[in-house]
Symmetry: D2
Subunit: 281 residues, 4 copies
């Protein structure tokens, strides 16, 4: 019989753990792993419970709902692979890494479709048997982005996409798409935010003479490079590295950071907490 | 009113979280932070609950005991400073670091007494107003270690010592003292175990030409350098570093690793799990 | 005009830098980057000089040889891509990473041929347009390894291979091949050596309860897992990670460590120094 | 006989290594370790040569000067301890760490004098036998800073101070003192610059929800927090850490970063390169 992941967010108050685990105990379900956090600033309660063993969990919905906690909760089988749509432009190390990981069983997701504003990675997508949609945007035609995004929204619906991953996708999404998929679009930014926002962060870092460069995986919001941060990592650099060297070293950090963020999301470890995240990792 | 830390270990079974949080809920106590882990190998349940707000917790003992879970549990006020006895020989960077941290409020412990088999650090101890006991061991007199350790056990009793920290103490403790203080003696070993057990680990590392050296904080057991590991960290080295350079670089790692392990222990985050540890950090 | 890399190893004595840079100065060549190290243990001098700008360097050979320094030296155009043969078994994250990097220009090597004792990665090789040779070994037939290795040596000759990379190749090479390609076979070992030599290192690490796991890139010698170490990296793990989790996290470290070692080798930064290495990075 | 460190900066051109090592070769001096870098942006040549063995190096000055390279060079015995003046306010972890390191032989400097705008660390200074000067500044009296800095300049002269270290000194120096001691004042900033400039960087980091915090050692210039960066390091943080936790974790990083920067400076490894640094480490 299967194990499941219950994720749970609600306004904080006394007795929530007791109430929720009471529902599980009533049905003789064992808790394998439980993580809980109450944010003192936002007064919000977050919990992730890994429990088992049962094949059908539909009988838990009514008792959990009737706890009357103004909660958002979800239950997923722990082996369920979330459907992920990956977007990319012309730089492919993150895409290549994610695709390899999901095939090798290092990343428990299903990638039915890849979207790009360039045709470059169609062969890579095909080599994995994944649908590739070349959906270009024309700088001259301001309506082309809206047209492109409605196609993306169609693909999201058609494939039951839970998560969109911007794997070095170099276009800004419209506020409309950001709102529609709030908490379900992860971007990799090639600097340790909030340093070096905007374009060419490695060149900015080179000019400043920093000794570390890094990368940031964050949820996308309408405010560019300001979304809630999921994970960051850095690597040391020195005076002898050129701006091109920083770009190359950063590539390794980017693949790692994005792979971690997507893995944690797929394991239901990542929660939105207003402008921040809670990550049970 | 104060917050408290409940730590809880017992054989795993369904319903424990529910039962324990039920006691807290019954008394209207809020959970601020809860971490739980069930080890699939040892079938043991571990939980740390940070709860509040109440000044006296004595009324919780009977209901928790009557849950009949064959449990070991403890409740401590979260601001309580555990009493720590530090032992040191002739190398003092860890001692100096721990003393500074506890005075500066970076480490919530109370150090009433320091023991050494050498007199070197009496002035440092005095500058912090801490009792210093020079308890030498004679290699010629095999009974001198037993005599020294009975004095140490007296000091432990006299000062209500909860934790002994071996901050580069270069003598092996007797199995008797190890057993008496099981789970309550932390040692810093100057290599990333299990590499380079035994004497002069940095020189062994230098001879092998490794590119990383590290340090390990672990509980002391009668089997030298085999105790359950609490924390490890490493630092990069290169061909140009001499064995002395490795010793010097390692010193920084040792202070960090030991300070982390003692801090986590003082916050009741560290649990013995047979030959391993569970660390909720 | 091109820049070049001069690498230089000889018994140490006074005046070598002066003598060598004198040859470059005589021909008005500029030094862009120079790194030098004299090992006090092996009394050996190592130097890497990046100089320019000139298209043909053949006129430097005679004057450098006539310095009479009992030296081993090489001059390569800095843009030259060394030919690399990759060997792999059934675990492909390192192979996939290396192939992507060389195509994306993150790794300045040319991979004309891949050898495996299993057929699994033929499609991946083909998608990069690289020759794939399935050269199995039979445990029942002790002569099959020798036969396989002579084919490998033929491929090395045929393709002018400079470096063999064992990218999770799970067979032991014969002492003959190790000797033939001394200093030109790099292996990735999935532990931070010397911890956890031999088989299933992540499972050994899990059983010991360590808090860090790592990987080691080293030159292959006839002594298994004892070759000179080029690079090591580690990652933190905790009590909640299973042995399978350690394997998965380790995969990321392995790809990074091996990519770094191959990159540095391709940039002529790695020197053999008896049982150790000198790495100018 | 002693070894020495020659540090050398000049406009780049062909033949410098040859010319300089020629002077050493002429006097039969052996190079133990040589590092060189030519910055393609600033067209500046940097070199550090560790050579031996000779007690007096005065005969090298004239030949090196007559190379006519418009150079800045210095020769120091490699065991010479540079005189360092430390400034501190009310937070002492960096001061305590530096003092312990220099006494334990981990840091090859001599600290004859400590200056503070507060009296708090007089006992610590005294326990190391170091002169302590309490030189307060009055916010009400704008001339008090000038008066304080002239006293500091007197102390610098009196004690032959080579380097001033701001070990969490919370006052801004005047442009006058910055200019006077250009390249000879190192500050520790408690963020990974350029993120979180200005006051309360850990609180800024907490508010932004970053997953890493760090520290930066940099040369002080008249532009606050904009000086050339010498070293940076970071540490991971998570959602459960409060702003106070970030401050505490940062303290460990600050001590490490500052100790590294001062150590490298004391070993003549750090060069100013306009708005950046060259660090041969």
């Amino acid at each position: 019989m299967a194990t499941h992941l219950l994720t749970f967010t609600c306004p904080d108050k006394a007795g929530i753990v007791y109430a929720v685990t009471g529902v599980l105990a009533h049905y003789q379900l064992t808790i394998l792993d439980l993580q809980q956090y109450s944010d003192p600033d936002t007064k919000t309660f977050f919990m992730r419970v890994h429990f088992g063993h049962v094949d059908d969990t539909s009988h838990l919905l009514q008792p959990l709902n009737s706890l009357n906690l103004h909660t958002t909760f979800q239950i997923h089988p722990s082996t369920l692979k979330p459907k992920v749509l990956i977007m990319v432009s012309k730089i492919g190390h993150c895409l290549n890494d994610l695709l390899y990981r999901q095939r090798a069983g290092l990343l428990n997701v299903d990638v039915p479709v890849i979207v790009s504003n360039h045709p470059d990675f169609e062969p890579l997508a095909k080599s994995y048997g994944i649908d590739f949609h070349h959906l270009p945007i024309s700088a001259k035609d301001p309506t082309s982005k809206d047209a492109q995004e409605s196609k993306i929204l169609s693909l999201i619906k058609e494939h039951n996409i839970e998560l969109v991953v911007l794997a070095r996708y170099m276009q800004i999404l419209t506020p409309n798409l950001c709102a529609e998929m709030s908490g379900r679009i992860i971007n990799i930014h090639h600097s340790f935010l909030p340093s070096f926002k905007g374009a060419k962060p490695y060149h900015q870092a080179y000019d400043r003479g920093v000794k570390i460069v890094g990368a940031t995986a964050h949820f996308v919001t309408k405010d560019l490079d300001e979304g809630p941060i999921i994970e960051q990592q850095v690597t040391h650099v020195g005076h002898a590295q050129s701006a091109k060297d920083l770009v190359d070293r950063g590539a390794t950090v980017e693949t790692q950071v994005l792979a971690s963020a997507v893995k944690w999301w797929s394991e239901r470890r990542v929660f939105l907490n207003q402008t921040k995240t809670v990550v049970f990792n």
